[in-house]
Symmetry: C2
Subunit: 177 residues, 2 copies
């Protein structure tokens, strides 16, 4: 049987580091090949502060940050949930725009895990609307089983050793953010 | 106690995907912040073919590929081992050159795992010679315990689901390479 090409659903999950950075590594690779890329960050808010956002601006990669920087610890849950749902609406527009070969939904699993968005609804929507050759990378902890079932490629990033817990080392600019 | 800053030794290991791409994501982030970066690929050979190499060329990131594309399956082990050792010599020069904030040793663990290079000698050399604020990212399967002990941050990439085994899907340019 001939091998087929298709747009992949890739999920990077687990408690370890590297979920988002592995997505950004694919962004770098895809950019190197001239693919059209859109990144939507669902939790992070402070646009322009992060190394990867600075890089994206320089490279002409579309990058949206729709979060308010909070999750379940938000003081205004209505606001946080509304932002998440707005982020998903933006993502749906980008996915169906026909402009992108690769769409990254960074920290999207939290919307599903906290049930701000129904996982089966999200999957049904993707099944019906995602362009067949478009790749989507979804990152975040606690990817629901339904999403794992739907995805083509799932990797768990597992923490073996972490310096900020075991040693008194602060997060390093350019490496951690 | 005040938190300290230091150059980190980061290891991405395990059988799953995302070890190298997470390193390349940090490269993108670091580049976004104007850090000086060198990537040395110990196994891959075909320079210019990969999406990430094309990207690095456009971004002015120093990128060396010292491998011949083979590992333990090489038909000429002397050549393969000599290339690996030459790669390590190049890495040592880059690390001590004073030019780089971040050095990526991609697929370096194989040199240690196959014992082409002694892990304790490599660690001793790094302890004595690595500039204190320089970050090093080492990728590859089967990171030796000595290296895990020496590293600040270690993540295992664990395969949960892989499309090329479970489905008849070919590797996709821009995503996989």
């Amino acid at each position: 049987m001939a091998k087929k090409k298709k747009g992949l659903i890739i999920v990077n999950t687990g408690k370890g580091k590297g979920k988002s950075t592995a997505a950004f590594g694919v962004v770098l690779r895809a950019w190197g090949r001239g693919l059209q890329i859109c990144v939507i960050q669902f939790i992070k808010s402070e646009k322009g502060k992060w190394g990867e956002v600075k890089a994206a601006q320089k490279l002409g990669i579309d990058w949206l940050s729709t979060g308010d920087g909070f999750t379940w610890r938000s003081k205004d849950m209505d606001e946080t949930i509304a932002r998440a749902q707005y982020g998903w609406k933006m993502a749906q527009e980008k996915i169906t725009s026909g402009k992108y070969d690769l769409v990254v939904l960074d920290e999207f699993t939290y919307l599903l895990d906290f049930e701000w968005l129904d996982v089966n609804e999200a999957i049904s929507w993707l099944e019906e609307n995602k362009p067949p050759m478009q790749h989507i990378i979804i990152t975040g902890r606690n990817a629901p089983q339904e999403l794992i079932g739907y995805a083509d490629l799932v990797t768990e990033m597992k923490e073996i050793k972490h310096p900020y817990k075991e040693q008194e080392i602060s997060a390093q600019p350019g490496i951690e953010f």
